[in-house]
């Protein structure tokens, strides 16, 4: 399996570490992890990093995850990069908004590493 670069977007540094660990536990080999604490930082990170996967929270200060997904959809540097939301917001409305904006997956917190595997591997084009 090729190593990938993941962009993890969450205002909690603890959660960013947990998401990284969950990716590794899911068998995803990480070449590099880029971190951002809100959507605005994530947009900047996308301009200077070649990223293969984005995992993004919704409720964040400065710019929330849904706005990040909408803006990333207009960026050439984000074209084709799968975005999976990881968030406490579990309503159908939020899921629909995220998927309509361009997210390819949706994981509700709290989550298990198996749930990360189930939602992330398919968007990377890998079998579970």
């Amino acid at each position: 399996m090729d190593k990938i670069t993941a962009l993890i977007v969450d205002d909690s540094s603890v959660m960013r570490k947990i998401v990284e660990r969950s990716l590794r536990q899911a068998g995803i080999e990480l070449e590099k992890v880029v971190e951002a604490s809100n959507g605005a930082e994530a947009l900047v990170a996308l301009q200077s990093n070649k990223v293969d996967l984005i995992l993004c929270d919704i409720n964040m200060p400065v710019m929330d995850g849904l706005e990040f997904v909408r803006q990333a959809a207009t960026m050439e540097s984000a074209k084709g990069i799968p975005i999976v939301m990881i968030t406490t917001e579990g309503s159908e409305a939020h899921v629909v908004q995220a998927l309509t904006a361009g997210a390819r997956g949706y994981i509700r917190k709290p989550f298990t590493p198996d749930q990360v595997k189930e939602h992330v591997l398919p968007v990377l084009g890998k079998k579970q």
Partner: protein, 160 residues
């Protein structure tokens, strides 16, 4: 015949305590890797050196808080991050995220009103000398759970 909707609402909210407790249990099991046990609030009061809070707005208005002592907050961070967790900032971050997930998990278990309720980003206060006052004047639901023997108080204070 008139219907006392306030009675119906109060009765519904009082049934939420088991849902809160289940939400807490699931968060600790899935994200901290340990089981917590519901305890009698009157006999198990934590030394509230850390208070994490998340606001709720929309169909549900109020605030959910998670309180524990500093040692417990540090232990939670260590269990979430491994032994690399060694700062008060990480302890606060971990407790804030736990509070965030409890609020979200609770909200997601409510049919109807949970979908029309938004959460704030978490805030954490730490220290030895503070009193937390919420201006929410409705139902207050409180539970205490034991995390490796240490009490963690979870409160949901609702706006009437």
């Amino acid at each position: 015949m008139t219907t006392d909707t306030s009675l119906v609402t109060r009765s519904r909210e009082e049934n939420w305590l088991p849902i809160i407790e289940l939400a807490v249990e699931e968060v600790f099991e899935m994200m901290v890797g340990c089981r917590v046990k519901v305890a009698a609030p009157s006999e198990n009061k934590p030394n509230e050196e850390f208070t994490a809070m998340v606001g709720l707005a929309g169909a549900l208005c109020g605030i959910l808080t998670v309180c524990c002592d500093a040692k417990t907050a540090g232990e939670i961070a260590k269990r979430m991050l491994g032994d690399t967790a060694d700062s008060q900032e990480q302890a606060a971050d971990a407790l804030g995220e736990i509070c965030n997930m409890i609020a979200g998990n609770f909200k997601n278990k409510l049919s109807g009103s949970g979908d029309r309720c938004m959460l704030s980003v978490p805030t954490v206060i730490s220290g030895g000398e503070y009193t937390f006052h919420s201006l929410a004047d409705g139902t207050c639901l409180e539970t205490v759970l034991l995390f490796e023997g240490a009490p963690i108080a979870v409160r949901l204070q609702l706006e009437s």
